[in-house]
Symmetry: C2
């Protein structure tokens, strides 16, 4: 039998796991960056606690020992089902026998895509580095204004979305802001820093047990985070957000609410859910295409109880493993057992020695849950080197409160503008390079 | 006595050292970035061997324990000697009693400033990150073209300037390219990679003893670097460089030749040398201004034998220390002993286990010089944390040849363009964000 040619779109948790388990097929793994990111720790890059290289790995290096995997760095523009090729922005089209679609998602702005520029999200390393720059610049700017004018405006960060990303970001920001950065900005008083977490629903961490949500809320408020529940954001402007009937002035709004699947999925022309995810069949394929699989944040896949599986790393990884196994065995559709997912629990960290854990019947919070969170996250980081780095960074930070990644680069001139269009976004070119002033 | 107000322009080796030794005065340290960079290791960031955070420190953190030092992140636009203020781009003017001018230098393009966009230099962290992106993109692009078309053009990097930076960059690039990156790009043959080091003069490392220059040349050529001596670059275009009478096609040209002092020095209106450096008096002050000091790459300061001191970190640090001592003692001009510098030797690394060292009468090369280089550079890195990180990175890389910092970020859209004008450069806004394609 000739080796089947498998194309994987996306090097996130789903696509990377599928590639790792595909030991026989000829695999082409396409990603628009050159690296895999450990997304659950992105918020720590955004708050300068970790460095980008601590939680990302070049895909080529990851697949060095797998000669059957070819890595292509490019944007997928469309999927041509009849011609059996994916079309790329820069490279020649790539043919496939089997396709695994795992392009991930962006945040959902609920019909207000224009808010993204004002309230950036946190899905990629580029997002994290951009948020880090905004945060550091905000502190520099506040310090400068206080030193010169004694201005008394508060330094306000608004985080939209009370899920794990929003909670982790809020907790991390107030810790960094109050304890670590305070001593560095002599004109800022610690109480001037205001971190506001906005959640449209009635509680933070809605995926968790209500008792743990309550514990997380208490922990956040004790740390100094202002939590506003039961009110959606109705407007975002450059100078603030409208939350319910309240106008909150802030030039630092971060979006951590909702998921919107990649527009690339449009080109498959199959039914999708309200978030744009494809309603996959029990074997994760699309209708009438037994060899086109959709996994990760792109798949609307039903749990045993009929609710869709959440867009989290463990689900994507299990899906990647399942699809690889189907392909490795060359199983015809009628011989495939449906994909199943066993929930191994959920963890969310709030701050130093503060977390919540929900593992089957076991619900925990506080230091124990936090220790568990640390162990689990370090365990899942790929490769010894990064484990040691992250462990040492955390130990260092825990002991000293000096985050190690607080760099802002200057803006040199005279270099050519490079541009790139994004299939999933508008075609605006932007300057993500760290600059003195965020527009 | 009221505390004197000292303003320091620049947080490089000179300015940072001066600030550290100024224990009594009220100090304002101005830098256009928020960090101090250990410049001698910038080439390792450019070749992805180290991460930016490994060799840079936020200035605010460095001066946390010195409450007399205030850090301001801004661009100095001009120095007003009569009003005794420095004018800044964003902030209000800052008054001084005593001024220390240490803005550093850029590379000299010998009257061809338009070459900078085509052949970027390596002076700042932003430069290093930009070069890293160009290098990684060049490999990605070559791999892509080979995979699609079998194109046989060589992947050529030209490095202009045979001083320590050029030699270190050339050695590091060929190592990374041949040994570490080779296995990751299956369509590239190792012999396709061509690293060409161009030096206008008759030997590499012209500051060293001729015998050591010869050893460095032999080591570079044995590693596979092509060295072209005795020919200046006469033209730079987007598709190559003209070296003497030879046209070298290359889309990856790096500039590591010469120094040009900051244009900010113009605003002092005092005599300067051919490189734009100010001819300082024996106490490092400018004519008729006993309390305006110029140090580091900005100062043309004569050695005991009448030759100007080189623009290297040890000189800048000694100058910073000397100026701080004069200010701390409030010495009138006639009581100041002239600045003197005792050469403590020079080191340059070429590659793994390859370096040259010249310390007084001791001249060494090979592994011993390299071990010395490692010890000296780690010793001078500030702070335990970064020492451990750099040591572990080097050990890791030495053992595995897997450089750890090879990340390219995608280009998100929808974010505001930020712009910044540079006092030392044209006002072009550029996008240094990693992109798929370097224009």
């Amino acid at each position: 039998m000739a080796r089947t040619k498998v194309v994987i779109i996306g090097g996130g948790f789903g696509g990377m796991t599928a590639a790792r388990f595909l030991r026989d097929a000829e695999v082409v793994l396409i990603d628009r960056t050159n690296h895999h990111v450990f997304q659950p720790l992105l918020y720590q890059v955004a708050t300068a606690a970790l460095s980008p290289t601590d939680i990302a790995w070049p895909l080529r290096t990851l697949f060095r020992s797998q000669p059957n995997v070819r890595v292509v760095m490019d944007d997928v523009v469309s999927i041509d089902r009849s011609a059996r090729v994916v079309r790329l922005r820069d490279s020649a089209p790539i043919a496939f026998d089997t396709l695994i679609v795992a392009p991930g998602s962006r945040h959902a702005y609920f019909g207000h895509d224009e808010w993204e520029a004002l309230a950036p999200g946190l899905k990629t390393m580029a997002d994290a580095v951009y948020l880090r720059e905004r945060m550091l610049l905000a502190f520099e700017e506040a310090e400068r204004q206080r030193a010169e004018t004694g201005m008394q405006d508060r330094l306000t960060f608004v985080i939209v979305g009370g899920g794990p990303t929003g909670v982790e970001l809020a907790g991390s920001l107030i810790e960094i802001g109050r304890k670590a950065m305070g001593p560095d900005y002599p004109h800022l008083r610690l109480e001037d820093l205001s971190i506001i977490l906005v959640e449209a629903g009635p509680r933070v961490l809605p995926g968790f047990d209500p008792a743990l949500s309550a514990k997380a809320l208490t922990a956040l408020e004790r740390m100094g985070v202002t939590v506003k529940l039961n009110n959606p954001v109705s407007a975002v402007r450059a100078d603030g957000v409208m939350v319910g009937n309240e106008w909150i002035p802030s030039t630092n709004v971060v979006w951590a609410a909702g998921n919107k699947a990649s527009p690339l999925l449009n080109t498959l022309a199959v039914p999708r859910d309200a978030n744009g995810r494809i309603k996959v069949r029990p074997d994760l394929t699309i209708p009438d295409e037994p060899w086109i699989f959709v996994i990760g944040d792109s798949a609307h896949c039903l749990d045993r109880d009929g609710s869709p599986l959440p867009g989290i790393a463990p689900v994507a990884m299990r899906e990647g493993q399942y699809v690889a196994s189907v392909i490795n065995q060359n199983l015809p559709p009628d011989q495939r057992s449906p994909f199943t997912y066993t929930d191994r629990g959920m963890l969310a960290t709030i701050g130093r020695a503060q977390a919540v854990a929900q593992i089957g019947p076991i619900h925990a919070s506080g230091f124990l849950a936090w220790a568990l969170w640390c162990i689990v996250h370090v365990f899942f980081l790929i490769g010894l080197r990064n484990r040691i780095r992250v462990m040492s960074e955390w130990t260092w930070y825990y002991l000293t409160f000096k985050p190690g990644a607080r760099l802002l680069f200057e803006q040199p001139a005279g270099r050519p503008h490079s541009s790139s269009t994004q299939q999933t976004e508008a075609t605006a070119v932007e300057d993500r390079a760290p600059t003195r002033r965020a527009a």
